[in-house]
């Protein structure tokens, strides 16, 4: 049996790594990937609690998180492609105008 704390620590570490990725990288795609990682870190916690409390709700929430992640990926990538088409740039700090 894996202790509950293990899941939580794993989730926290992954979340921190993801957050570091988001805050430190300039490349927009890597930022999106890091966001995916953060969402999954949350899933680890959800599933850990689901196991610990013997309740399906955690897994259901994990499924919703995956749904949200799919939406986020689709829209985020669409924005990136549109940006890349208009301006050949992938770095977030260059995308600093509200309007082109």
């Amino acid at each position: 049996m894996i202790p509950m704390t293990h899941f939580l620590v794993l989730g926290a570490v992954l979340f921190l790594i993801g957050a570091m990725g988001v805050l430190m990288r300039r490349n927009a795609i890597i930022i999106l990937l890091s966001i995916e990682l953060m969402l999954n870190a949350v899933n680890v916690t959800f599933v850990g609690f689901s196991r610990h409390l013997a309740d399906m709700t955690g897994q259901v929430f994990a499924i919703f998180v995956i749904t949200v992640a799919a939406c986020e990926a689709a829209v985020g990538l669409a924005i990136l492609i549109a940006l890349n088409r208009d301006r050949t740039m992938v770095n977030v700090d260059e995308i600093n105008l509200l309007k082109w």
Partner: protein, 169 residues
């Protein structure tokens, strides 16, 4: 036995995700993230969520990440590799991350979770993860489920509109 597998998967996840956020080449980063998701699926199996593990691989690894790779290939990767990779706020972020990590560590040390509960199967004689999940998802969480599907629809339309070259009026 289980715990060693958990350490293996957890270690793999942390290693690959650290590598992921440090790569200059986006394709490598995406592939490393796929690897992270594999390990994550392993963790899910260990936690008794095998359906979720399969969903993780099917949707995340097989779907979303391919979408990422697909989009990255449409862009010019080589240009991005030669650019400066990091923001100048890196040190601040590192310090903040370490502090936050310590805080979580401290909090977790305080909490007592107690003994884990056992599953109580309401469905039939064959306890199965899929049946239980389905039963909860389509009864108790039916409304959120429908909302999620609308969210998916909206994002699909949004993605198409955003990425379309010209919009016929």
């Amino acid at each position: 036995m289980e715990i060693y597998f958990f350490y293996m998967f957890a270690g793999g996840m942390i290693l690959t995700s650290l590598l992921m956020i440090t790569r200059a080449n986006v394709i490598h980063a995406a592939l490393l993230l796929v690897l992270t998701f594999f390990f994550l699926a392993g963790v899910f199996v260990l936690a008794g969520a095998e359906f979720l593990a399969a969903v993780q691989i099917l949707l995340y690894a097989g779907g979303i990440m391919v979408l990422y790779l697909f989009s990255i290939m449409l862009m010019n990767v080589e240009v991005a590799v030669r650019m400066r990779q990091w923001h100048r706020q890196g040190v601040v972020v590192l310090v903040a991350a370490v502090l936050l990590g310590l805080e979580i560590w401290a909090v977790l040390g305080e909490v007592e979770f107690g003994a884990p509960k056992q599953w109580e199967w309401s469905l039939g004689a064959t306890p199965g993860n899929v049946e239980a999940l389905g039963a909860v998802l389509y009864t108790k969480f039916l409304f959120p489920f429908e909302v999620a599907s609308i969210l998916l629809l909206a994002s699909m339309i949004g993605a198409i509109v955003l990425a379309k070259r010209t919009i016929e009026r």
